[in-house]
Amino acid sequence: MVQPIEPSVAILAVWVVLYIYSMAGSIDFGASFWAMVYGNQQTQAGKIANRFLSPTWEVTNTILVLLVVMSVGFFPRAAYMLGNVLIVPVSVILLLITIRSSFMVFAYYVEGYQRLLQAVSGITALFIPALLISALPVTQGGFVQRADGRELLLFDKLVTSPSVYLYILFGLTSELFLAALFLADYSRESGDEEAYAAYRKHAIVFGPITLLVAVFTLYTLEPEAFWLLKRLQEFKVWYVWSILAFLIGYLALWWKTPGGKVGRPRVAVIAVAIQYAIATFAYGAAHLPYIIYPYLTVNEAFTQINTFYSLLKVFAMGLAILLPGFIIFWRLFMKDKRYLQGERRP
């Protein structure tokens, strides 16, 4: 019998969105943190971070909701199990997201308490990706126990596991690295070399740290997750490519531009995006067929076939209709010099 391909298409689609959100979310939340760091200094670095955040944070947030909705639609049983298991950590994340987003908006509109509001949103933002990524070890085994027909999170084990803290550390450093790198490029695009230099410096520091933490994380997995490590060995070549992409991106921070400026941040951003893509998809492929090890596989969690096709059609149509919107958006806020260099406040 030919194996149905639909569940694989669905998990691939979810994984693509997850990858996009992990990048966009890291940059978004990280930018909030950097905006706070440079909040009251003479450089334009903080202003540039805020200028990037103001129009984009809502769109980024929507990608998160898309991820949740896609998981529920394509893999209802996974949503069921994760919903039951992760209620406490996810609730904490939700509260942090709420405080971060609303305070960021408030900081924009209230003069006087700006520093305080910005500090609150910057610090909460720092922790969100770190906590989000802690869902990964939960799906790898060892933290969920099945007792009388339902799954329970072993909360004590989760909060005392060094492996989980390494994941969190990886989330943190990734966020700071990706945001700094992206903002370096955004500063260059804005023609602000001073801010560029500041963000470039952070990217140079956090790049290698992130890579080291990632390697370290993989080799300190919980014993229950050794199956994953074994599977990951099969994808060794992918990780070689991933590290190669990182090196290219990292070195690009020293390449000279035709104009004699130091560093090609755009090349660096693209190379690092490729680095994360390769690593993420190798990880995802190794994780298969399990969504939650060892309780739920992709095929078991899969939705009704008619629903799958309707969702897929809606997804394709929605993207096609909105694509011009995204392009206009990109040009107005990522390319237009009048916005990038402007001093506008609403």
Binding site: S54, P55, E58, V59, N61, T62, L64, V65, V68, V69, M70, V72, G73, P76, R77, A79, Y80, M81, G83, N84, L86, I87, V88, V90, S91, L94, L95, I97, T98, I99, R100, S101, S102, V105, F106, Y109, V110, E111, R150, T303, Q304, I305, N306, T307, S310, L311, V314, G318, I321, L322, G325, I328, F329, L332, F333, D336, R338, Y339, R344, P346
Partner: protein, 458 residues
């Protein structure tokens, strides 16, 4: 008495939703008002409309700072608090959620473009972008309503005795029998609420602000919003009638509970006020209007309306459904009368005059909050009137709820955050508009127009 997990989950989710819909409703209603005034500005070239649009947009942007994360909370909490429900939702009715994401994207993109790029766009494009904001917000509401109406009148699948689901038709689920009626009701009532909130603020400012040009702006805002509020409160009332007929057809016990009707009968009376006593099976202290319930249900005196006695006792909706229904309808009627009264008084006192009587303005200040309250009661009526079901006739709320314990702590935590945010939003709004008074905006615009060769001419 400690609450059981199901009750706690209901209270928790209800609180999140009650909080979110304030911001979601205003997101639709006020952005629609911004669109109208942008349109009027483009048409009449009266800069007062441009000033209004600018200032209302600021409040939309501040409100969205809470609307978006609170919407995210609601979206995720569906899976956290109702995993059993979402297991069926995922298989049958996930399409509207997926489409809603794109409406959400549309709104987020268009709003950012309108707020941060308006000055780099041609004027017509500005009107288009704010129209897309309102469209995106409205579409989100329609799509979420689709999922909600599917809970009330499930369609598009068959459930076997063992709980497995077959014969799924996602579009039949999407366009379930009560979808069109309810979606329409939700949209017009949101537009009504947005208008009434503007009515409230304009009336309040008219009472406070005594300067000539400010008065003129508030006057225009009040007149515009009163007209919109009147039209949409009328449409809301009419669509409410349609919704009642829908209940009659598809969820008769909900209508019976809303009206405290126990015996199935023709020529059924409409009970107003009082409370329903399930022990004695009667309405206490209510006023009965003969035949009106039959008319409401089927436009005929002899329509047979089902009573609660026809249904097993354990599937009766809670007794307070009647009260929720009464408050919702009562507020709706009151608002319609208020808007009509406002316009009537204005018309009587010579057109063009700006002298609104003070007593009227005082009444109108209350309109916005009352309208919001009516929306809240409507949603609570729709959802608690469906009890004990989450999906009518298919899944009970107890089956849908999470099995997790210790919800209490989270509930308290979230409630505190909601209260805190509500307070801060109010403070931020007040501070912002104090720091940027209308006079300042008027002054700046007048100056800009003075030097701007492309300014309006007429």
């Amino acid at each position: 008495m400690p609450m059981d997990t199901v009750t706690l989950a209901r209270a928790f989710f209800g609180t999140s939703l009650a909080f979110h819909i304030i911001f979601a409703t205003l997101g639709i209603g006020i952005s629609a008002m911004v669109f109208l005034s942008e349109f009027l500005y483009w048409w009449k070239k009266d800069i007062h409309y441009s000033v209004m649009a600018k200032r209302w947009t600021k409040s939309v942007a501040i409100l969205l700072g809470v609307a978006i994360p609170s919407g995210t909370i609601v979206a995720v909490q569906l899976s956290l608090l109702w995993p059993g429900f979402m297991k069926i939702v995922g298989q049958v009715i996930s399409v509207p959620f997926q489409v809603e994401i794109f409406a959400f994207f549309l709104e987020a993109l268009a709003l950012s473009i309108y707020v941060y790029a308006a000055d780099r766009l041609p004027p017509a494009f500005r009107v288009v972008s704010v129209f897309l904001v309102a469209l995106g917000a409205t579409a989100s509401a329609v799509l979420i309503t689709s999922a909600n109406t599917w809970m009330n009148t499930p369609a598009g699948f068959t459930m076997r005795a063992d709980g497995t689901i077959t014969d799924v038709n996602p579009w039949k689920a999407f366009f379930n029998p009560s979808f069109f009626g309810s979606a329409y009701h939700v949209v017009v009532s949101a537009l009504m609420t947005g208008a009434f909130v503007v009515v409230s603020v304009a009336a309040y400012r008219l009472l406070k602000d005594r300067r000539e040009e400010e008065q003129s702006v508030h006057h225009k805002a009040l007149l515009l919003s009163l007209v919109v509020a009147f039209i949409f409160s009328f449409l809301t009332a009419m669509s409410g009638h349609g919704s009642a007929q829908n209940l009659h057809r598809y969820s008769p016990e909900k209508l019976a509970a809303a009206e405290g009707l126990f015996e199935t009968q023709r020529y059924a009376p409409l009970a107003v006020g009082g409370y329903v006593d399930y022990q004695k099976k009667e309405i206490r202290y209510g006023v009965e209007i003969p035949y009106m319930l039959s008319v409401l249900a089927g436009d005929r005196f002899d329509t047979e309306v089902k009573g609660l006695n026809d249904f097993p006792r354990e599937t009766w909706p809670p007794a307070y459904t009647h009260t929720l229904f009464n408050v919702m309808v009562g507020l709706g009627m009151l608002l319609l009368v208020l808007a009509a009264l406002g316009l009537y008084v204005y018309w009587r006192r010579k057109r063009g005059t700006r002298n609104w009587p003070e007593w009227l303005l005082r009444c109108l200040v209350a309109a916005g909050p009352l309208s919001m309250l009516a929306i809240e009661f409507g949603w609570i009526f729709s959802c608690s009137g469906r009890q004990p079901w989450t999906i009518y006739g298919i899944q009970t709320t107890a089956e849908a709820a999470t099995k997790a314990e210790n919800l209490g702590v989270l509930f308290v935590l979230f409630t505190l955050v909601y209260l805190f945010l509500a307070t801060i939003v109010a403070v931020v709004m007040i501070r912002y508009f104090r720091r940027h008074p209308l006079a300042q905006d008027l002054h700046r615009l007048n100056r800009e127009l003075g030097v701007n060769a492309h300014g309006p001419t007429h």
